[in-house]
Subunit: 371 residues, 2 copies
């Protein structure tokens, strides 16, 4: 299987009409877009990078496609671009931060950096961030720890789109869980795992809408809470596992774990109390949760790298099922393949996303030189 | 909906032919069984309690039904009943322990106690345990932290039964994730969430075998890796989410997170390298991972209790879907209902499990007074 085939099978990149943009050009334009929106120039590059990381990993649902959403919230005055993190509580290995409705793409990376610094000192750090806004792709934060040579986890609450088992209305966000560890010295080639605790992320519904494709039964529910395959009728998402018989109550329970850590523990809103869904004009007040640990607090790092590398190789060597579309992949393999393609050929963007960015650029008076 | 109905819908207790045993009698008999198997008397009560906690919460798959398995491993000399935990590495907030093939039901509670003690001191502790054996129900360990007034998580690797996405052979255990927090002072009424990262735990297949019921499509695979509804043909389990279209790669990824934390990080085996499946005569060498944190390191505890309580109440108040068999449950509600029933009427055991315990009792020369 080639890298291109991997990426076609297991990432978001199902749309045929696409544009490739060199990473540096994409990062530069996105940075200028954030500055034009009023983001302090010293911070705009960081916000841009979180979005570009998603697209270059093939996770289009969390990349540039989301910029018009962030832009709309910023322009409506619903995000405070000048807010700074404050420390609400601090212990040797713990940190409770408040984000005061600042831009998640800027303040969440800073929170993870502080987490990493404390974990480097004492071996472990757990951090909550309350009063926050969407922070983009959760995997980027876990990967920050891994690239610094530490293990890391990240979770975030999100606007309510997911319907609990037996329910008809949403009460939870897609509440992702991300995990990363280095597989070599200096944080080389990290294993990065990142998953929404819903069956799919909302971005997957948007991708099907742009492509005009039906969605598989079990992904989404309509306004009344009934299952649907029409992406335009889809309003709400199912928890991972689908219905009760296929154990969707487990995805629901995972989402509740994330909500407790990012809501009540982080002094933020939770569930249906989180704002910001579909044009709603109140602050999100969501929360994040971060964990970082030194590998050598638990194990000789070289032995750890060797074992994780062997673990991933053993997964790839599992005999494939008859009729499987490809060999067994280790978690993160599709994203690594997409990153490699992005480096060689440029970051892949769907044509409808590029069209939306052109509209945004025009409205900001920004030259548009991506296509 | 009555508590009994809740427990019927959402716990393991689907079998009609059942026996109720008072908790104290069950704990006493199980303790004597462990002593008869050679467990030091000072430790046998702790091992017995972990099994009884599972049955009284309605999680029959991890209760007394597993005692014959533990007994078989102990009698075959595959578990060292005299092994003690050793500290391999220790930092202010971190602990790497080795269990030297000791009984998981005894050494894992001790490891969680040490985790809680360190977290109480410094705010947070993360612990790995390598060289370990099955520790029973993961939720019991997270609940230990919550009952001590802290937040807690527990994970464990397990014998390989779960087939990775696109694969035909098992390479991962059911690798559960458990989480608990207090919802009041003194650890009162904890929220406890505990889920295997497979669609179902193996014990659910055993329950269907005992009951002679078909299993839903998507739970299990046969010897060749093909989906089956026959519990006797079922040999392997699917990851949570089922196949690729319904996002089983997410359950697979969650299982890998658990395997990395409990295998390479804990200096234990992982994946197919874990022993102990179906009569196999080598040590399990699996691993556990524990986390505990002070609530007040992040939030005023009373505000936290109030918010978690409100979060759970809001979930229960979500309008039910048309045709739903009951109202929306908060995670842990079925187990709380089962605990209440157990306190009033005794712990419920399936008749076939009682029959197996009678055979075990006879072989140990132990009076059998449970039925």
């Amino acid at each position: 299987m080639t890298a291109q085939e991997t990426s076609t099978i297991a990432t978001d990149s199902h749309e045929t009409d696409r544009v490739r943009v060199p990473r540096a050009a994409l990062l530069d334009w996105t940075t200028r877009a954030f500055v034009a929106l009023g983001t302090p120039p010293a911070q705009a590059g960081r916000a841009a990078e979180i979005l570009v990381i998603a697209d270059e990993r093939g996770v289009e649902s969390h990349g540039l496609a989301r910029l018009p959403y962030y832009a709309g919230r910023i322009r409506a005055g619903l995000i405070d671009l000048n807010a700074a993190l404050t420390v609400e509580r601090e212990g040797p290995a713990t940190l409770a931060l408040a984000a005061h409705n600042g831009l998640g793409l800027v303040l969440a990376p800073e929170a993870m950096e502080r987490t990493i610094a404390k974990a480097r000192d004492i071996g472990l750090c757990m951090t909550t961030v309350g009063g926050a806004n969407h922070f983009g792709i959760a995997g980027a934060y876990a990967a920050m720890a891994a690239r610094a040579g530490l293990g890391g986890m990240a979770m975030t609450s999100a606007t309510p789109l997911v319907v609990p088992t037996f329910g008809s209305q949403p009460a939870l966000g897609t509440n992702p869980i991300a995990f990363a560890v280095p597989t070599g010295p200096d944080g080389a080639a990290p294993l990065v795992i990142d998953l929404a605790t819903s069956t799919v992320a909302w971005g997957k519904i948007e991708i099907a809408r742009r492509a005009g494709h039906a969605i598989p039964l079990g992904w989404a529910l309509d306004e009344a809470g009934a299952p649907t395959t029409d992406p335009f009728a889809a309003q709400w998402l199912t928890p991972l596992g689908g219905d009760r018989e296929t154990c969707g109550h487990k995805g629901y329970s995972l989402a509740v774990i994330v909500d407790v850590l990012c809501g009540p523990l982080a002094a933020a809103a939770w569930g249906a109390g989180i704002g910001g869904i579909r044009g709603e004009s109140r602050p999100a007040d969501l929360g994040h949760w971060f964990l970082a640990w030194r590998i050598d607090a638990f194990r000789d790092p070289d032995a750890f790298y060797a074992d994780v590398t062997a673990l991933l190789a053993e997964l790839r060597a599992v005999p494939p099922a008859p009729g499987a579309p490809c060999s067994v992949l280790a978690p993160g393999d599709p994203e690594i393949a997409a990153e490699r393609e992005s480096r060689i050929h440029g970051v892949s963007l769907a044509a409808p996303v590029v069209a939306e960015l052109r509209v945004l650029a025009d409205s900001l008076g920004l030259p548009f030189d991506l296509a």
